[in-house]
Every structure is written in C-alpha cells, then in structure tokens.
C-alpha cells in the first residue's frame, strides 16, 4: 500500500497543469465552433481520447493519467470537452463491436469532434426497463426503416450521429429482439425537440424518428445483439472522472466556507454557529471519502483489475453524495443558494454541466445523477445480484431460459 503518486504521474501532472495554465480560454465559449476548437486543441495536446488505443487515434494513456487531466481541468475551471458520450461510450463500443469500415469511417472524426454523437437509448416508456423499448427498425434490403421516439438525448440538437437501440424482432423475448445501429441525425426523418428540464435549460432532447433511414453497414454486431452490446457500453466506466469530480466538490466546498465566513447571524459569521460547523464537518468528511474511494478505484484499474460491478458502487456513492452535498449547502446558504445568476463571489460555482454555475443550478442538477445511466435503484439491484450474490427477484417479465 503506497498512496503516493508515482514520479511519472507527478511529472505528468506538472506538464498538464502548465499546459492548462497556458491554454485554457480566458473567456466563456459561446458558439459551437469555439467549443469545437477548444476540444480539438485538447485532443492535439493528448488530453482527449486518452484511453483509446493509438491505432484508432487515441493516446493509449493510463486511467490515472486521464484522471489527472480531468482533475487539472476541474482545478482551473476549464470548459468541458463536447463529445463526452461519443468518446466515453460510443467510440469504445465501436472499437469493441464495430467493423473495420465503421472504425475507419467514424472514430477519428468523433475524437476531433468534427462529428458530434448522441445516444438514442431511453424511451418515454422504457427508462429503467430499457429492454422494453419500442422503437422499430424494419428490414428494407440495404437499410432499415426506423420509427419511434427517444428521450433524454444529450447533445441532441448538435448531434450529427446517434447510436440507436431498436427492436428488430418482436417475436422473441424482449432482451433478444434488440439491435444496435448507427443513425445519421441529419436527415428529414429525424426530428429533435429540446426538452426543458427543471434547471430551466435544455441539455436533453426528445428525438422523433419517422421512416428514418439507417444503413445496414452501420449495424453494430449482429441482429439481436443490441442488448448485450448496450450492457458493455453502460459498463464502460473507467474511473476517468473520479478525481476531477471530487475536486469540483472541493472547490464548491471552499465557496461554501467562504459564504459561511461572510454571511452573518446573531451578530456573528455563520462559521461560528456550531450547527453550521457540524454540517460543514460532515460534508467535508463525506467529500474526502469520495476522494479516497476514487483513488482506490484508480489503483485497481492501474493493475488491470476489472471493476464493472464495482463501478455501480462508485456511481451510487457519488451521485447520492452529490444530492446530500447540495441539499446541505442550500440549508446553510438559505436564499443565497437560490440565485440563478450569481450576485456574490461565493454564489458562483462550477456545476460541470456547462450551465451557468450557481448553487441553485448545481442543486437542481444533483437530482439528475441518481436517475441517469441506471438509477440508484437499478445500481442497487446490480450490486445486490452481481456483487453480493443475492437471489434474483421474481419478476413478471422474467423469461424462462
């Protein structure tokens, strides 16, 4: 057991920090073009696609190095990259399951954000029960004709391509009739409608497909393999953001301490109120435990130990913590936690969502984490079954093998 960073990792962090200090844009990135340029610059520096093999345009770096980059970006408040789903999930899926033609055609442009990708999985009636999805793809010779509706699609309005889960066989068990295909979003049969979420912004969309066309050459894997492919996709969590995430919490925490020193009650700063002090101490303890646990995951990854089920524990842990964190922060801040734009320095925080950063937005955003990418309840099912080995539940739709 040795929790010191290796000298290579320390040197890598120094280089990365110097690069960020020299290159992070000094102004907010407003247009898509500006965001693409920043993304491209990061890619060329070796800070995007870090875990991808070099053969596909990646950098073949370690999970620790990727975590350090995310950490340094959080520390300096760098604008996020834009093709996160593509680079984190869709690209790796194509690398594992795709054809040579698909790899050649899609991967490089994904890395450089020349083409933006979205994920077409959830449907209005298929959330946690994703395998119940109804979007149909019918065989029309050299292509499929796609009809249906998707929801909770990130980057929908700016996406050029989507990875689609659709039903290609309705006569077999629901998990077995699903296929995975790449869909061109820039066609008349695809309509994207932004979805206004509780933060008042629109980072998600609904996507309507009406006789949309998906090419046969864009089928990932074989017909009927979509569910299995989606499982590996959802499990492709590599701990890459484990340090950066905690650094964002830590920066927010320091803003909270600052607020507690400036705001006053009973003629003295809040920081001298024992109830506030107890809350701060508890938050910081939980925050640090998130960091220690993140280091533990990175250590396991660096030894090539698989953590696919353990990533459910990580996801459950930080998303539930994030809710408690912002709930407690708003208890302390009172109305100062409600501003949708900052009126004091300590009201401004990095929400990492790309939205204007105030406590209110972060508080509202924290409700998303325990729902997306498998809700907390789904994570607990996975942990119970796959880690603890508890018996499967009796379910009405469970098909006998």
């Amino acid at each position: 057991m040795d929790l010191n960073y290796s000298s290579e990792d320390r040197a890598f962090r120094d280089t990365c920090r110097a690069w960020m200090e020299a290159n992070v844009p000094r102004h907010d990135l407003k247009t898509l073009d500006e965001r693409k340029q920043w993304h491209r610059k990061l890619y060329e520096a070796g800070y995007v696609g870090m875990l991808w093999p070099k053969a596909y345009g990646g950098w073949g770096a370690t999970a620790m190095q990727q975590a350090i980059v995310q950490d340094e970006m959080a520390r300096i408040g760098a604008p996020p990259t834009i093709n996160g789903l593509g680079i984190g999930f869709i690209g790796p899926t194509i690398i594992v399951h795709g054809t040579d033609w698909q790899k050649e055609r899609y991967l490089k442009k994904m890395l450089t954000a020349e083409e933006i990708w979205c994920q077409l999985y959830s449907e209005p009636n298929a959330g946690s029960d994703l395998a119940g999805l109804k979007t149909r793809a019918e065989d029309a010779g050299d292509h499929f004709v796609v009809n249906g509706q998707k929801i909770w699609t990130s980057s929908g309005p700016i996406a050029d391509w989507g990875i689609l889960l659709c039903r290609t066989d309705s006569k077999v068990a629901k998990h077995k009739g699903i296929s995975c295909v790449l869909l061109n979003m820039r066609q008349p049969g695809v309509e994207v409608r932004p979805l206004k979420q509780i933060t008042g912004h629109s980072l998600f969309s609904e996507v309507f497909m009406t006789n949309a066309r998906a090419e046969k050459r864009d089928l990932i894997g074989d017909l009927g393999q979509g569910w299995a492919i989606a499982q590996t996709t959802l499990g492709y969590e590599r701990g890459g953001n484990s340090l950066g995430r905690v650094t964002r919490y830590a920066i927010s925490f320091q803003q909270l301490v600052k607020a507690a020193k400036e705001l006053r009650r009973n003629g003295r700063p809040l920081i001298q109120d024992s109830a506030v002090r107890a809350k701060l101490g508890k938050l910081y303890a939980e925050l640090e435990v998130q960091r220690y646990a993140g280091l533990r995951v990175l250590s396991a990854l660096s030894k090539g130990e698989g953590v696919s089920s353990a990533s459910s524990i990580t996801k459950l842990s930080y998303t539930e913590f994030e809710k408690r964190f912002y709930e407690t922060a708003l208890e302390i801040l009172g109305p100062h936690g409600h501003g949708m734009s900052a009126t004091a320095d300590y009201e401004e925080i990095d929400t990492s969502s790309g939205e204007p950063g105030t406590w209110a937005t972060a508080f509202l955003w924290s409700r998303a984490g325990t729902i997306y990418s498998g809700s907390s309840e789904i994570q607990k099912n996975i942990i119970g079954e796959r880690v603890l080995g508890l018996p499967k539940e009796v379910r009405a739709d469970r098909v006998k093998a």
Partner: protein, 371 residues
C-alpha cells in the same frame, strides 16, 4: 498509487483472520463477556507470539518496525471477531512510550509489551465529555519526593488489567503525561458495565497519587496527546470496519436462505437494496480507514484531517450497517442468543472512543476553514 495491501500485509491479514476464526469464535467471545477480568491470558500470549503486540515497535525492543496500516489490519480482524481484548489501548500506549519515552522507559516497557508481559492504557477523559487535551482537569504538583496527582479519570479502557496507566494532568508547566502505577496508594479503580461486555471501562480516581515519572518533558504533552487521539481514532475506525463487515456478511448470508412469502428475502428489493447500501458504506469505510492509516504512516499533509474523517465517517457507517443487519434478520437479530449483537455493541462502544463523530467533525471544520 497502490491502494491494495502488499503481499506481506495480505499475509498478515490472512493469518489474523484464520487465527481469530479458530481461537476467537463467538463462543469464546461470550465466555470472555462473562469473565470477571474480561480477556484471555492465553490469547494475549498468542498475540505476542504472532507478533501483533510489537507490530509497531522498533526491532530493538522486540517489535516488527511496522506501523499504522499493519495495526489497522489486525484491528479490522479483531473487530470482525468482536474479541474482548486490551490490544489497542496497550499498543497505542506503547507508541506513546516509543515516541516520548527516555531510553530507560522504553527498555522498561516496550519489550514487556511486545512479549505480552505488560498491558497499558491511556486515561484521556476527565469529568467533562471533551476529548481535547485542553479539557484536562486532573492536576499534578511537584513536591520534594516527586509528583502527586489528584483528579478523576473517566471511561478508561481496560485500566483494571493494565500494568501502567498513561495519565495526562495539568501542571504549572502545562499539560503533562505521567506514567502511573495502578497499584499506587490513593488510586482507586471502579469498573463500569457498559452495553458491550467486550469493552471494559474503568473509572479511575486519583487522590494524591505519587507518580515517579513523566513521559516527555513537563508541559509538552498536548501535541503528543493529539497525535495519540488521531492514532486511536484510526485504530477504532479499523475495528468498527471489521465489525461492520461481519454484520454485512451475516445479513447477506441470512438474506439468501431465509424465506418468507415463498421466496428468499434477499430477492426482495426492500432487503437487497438495504444490503447494497450496507456494502457501499463498508467499502467507503475501508477506503477511509486505510487512507488515514497510510497518511499517518507517511506523515502526509492531510494526515490529521484523514484521521478525523475516518473516525467520523466510519462511526456513522458502522452504526448504520450493524443496525441494518439486525433489521434484515428481524426478530432473531434481536435475541441475546444470536451473535449479531456482539458486533453491533462493539461498534457502538468504539463510536464513543478517541473522540466521537461530533468531536471529529468539529476538528475537520476547524482544520479546513482555519476558523
């Protein structure tokens, strides 16, 4: 960056697990619960033989020259067994003698601890429920024939079996640590029966008790006591972690075989989700305990914060996990006959020791806010 145990550390863990599985079964624990002294001389000698008592001591004094991570590994397993033992009070007191003692003091006590011939404990608390050295109320005065101590120390673990007591007292020079003979005239021991029969507490009254020696220079004890509190806290957290993991294992095992409504109860989400939440708390506690232990050993910048984080976090987590294990078991978990309460009570007793959660959360706020 390597969070996994080294192969030597893993060997130590495996050896501790198999020794305690064989020699500290619940039936043994229950015998010790009913024993007046409360611990086993033969197990103590075994622990000396295994090298556990001298684990953190210098090789010159018969120790193994290891440190907090190794102590945490042993304590994790002791907690898993809920073994009643003055192990941690003794080993912690020995680190104080190793850190601040004279050569003569070290020669007198450290080999004796390592061989199992001496037990020791530290009397942190006075009448106030305040773990800060500043709250020390016991007084010591220097006279021509040495120091004289008067005061009342509360909740001293295992003082009735100790060969030496480490007693902080207030002197003209400031807070000073004394080595006190428990058999000295004017010293009275009053055992207290707590809910955990495996944690023996003693109230110690000192009425003009003679102490020949201070540990370290008079007035210099406050920083040492704070360091001992941090070590004590991390050790207690390790022991709570072991108790919590035992409770989790028992709950999961039971949920797989106990049937209601014609199904194993572990197939119900109400139970499965509870067990998953318990696992989350245990894994986070593991990270907290071993991070803090490593940070103390490495003298990391955040070692002080990490010790308080471990105690505050794991205290809450262990209470939750052990309590939920009773809930998963239902009625059987509430019986004296079933073993769950051994671990539940051990974790609960440790939660109060070396600073409770509120105390450590206050320390954390002070350290991170600078106020």
């Amino acid at each position: 960056m390597d969070f996994a145990f080294s192969s030597d550390q893993q060997l130590l863990k495996n050896a501790a697990r198999s020794f305690l599985d064989e020699h500290a079964k619940p039936a043994t624990v229950r015998l010790l619960w009913d024993d007046a002294r409360g611990e086993s001389e033969s197990l103590w000698k075994d622990m000396a033989q295994l090298g556990w008592l001298g684990l953190s001591l210098d090789e010159a004094y018969g120790g193994a020259g290891l440190a907090m991570v190794e102590s945490a590994i042993v304590l994790d397993e002791i907690g898993r067994a809920a073994l009643p033992t003055p192990y941690w009070p003794t080993v912690l007191a020995a680190t104080a003698i190793a850190d601040a003692g004279t050569d003569a003091q070290k020669k007198r006590w450290l080999p004796a601890v390592a061989t199992g011939d001496a037990r020791a404990t530290i009397a942190f608390l006075d009448g106030d429920l305040d773990w800060s050295p500043d709250a020390t109320a016991t007084r010591a005065e220097k006279s021509s024939e040495g120091w004289r101590l008067s005061g009342a120390k509360r909740w001293v673990p295992w003082a009735h079996v100790a060969n030496v007591l480490l007693v902080p007292a207030r002197t003209a020079e400031g807070i000073t640590l004394f080595l006190v003979d428990p058999a000295a005239a004017g010293l009275a021991l009053a055992p207290v029966q707590g809910m955990d029969f495996g944690t023996r507490w003693v109230h110690v009254t000192l009425d003009n008790v003679r102490a020949a020696e201070t540990l370290g220079a008079p007035g210099s004890a406050a920083p040492l006591l704070q360091l001992l509190m941090r070590r004590g806290a991390v050790g207690a957290a390790a022991e709570m972690l072991g108790a919590a993991r035992r409770c989790l294992d028992m709950a999961v095992g039971y949920a797989k075989v106990r049937e209601q409504f014609g199904q194993p109860i572990g197939s119900f989400q109400a139970i499965r989700h509870k067990c998953s939440e318990m696992l989350l708390e245990v894994e986070n506690s593991h990270a907290a305990v071993y991070y803090a232990a490593w940070a103390l050993d490495a003298r990391a910048d955040d070692a002080d914060v990490a010790a308080s984080v471990a105690k505050a976090y794991v205290g809450d987590a262990a209470r939750k996990v052990c309590g939920e294990a009773i809930q998963v078991h239902g009625g059987i978990g509430f019986t004296w006959e079933y073993d769950l309460h051994l671990y539940f009570k051990r974790a609960k007793a440790l939660e109060t020791m070396y600073g409770d959660g509120d105390y450590h959360r206050e320390l954390i706020t002070r350290m991170v806010s600078g106020v």
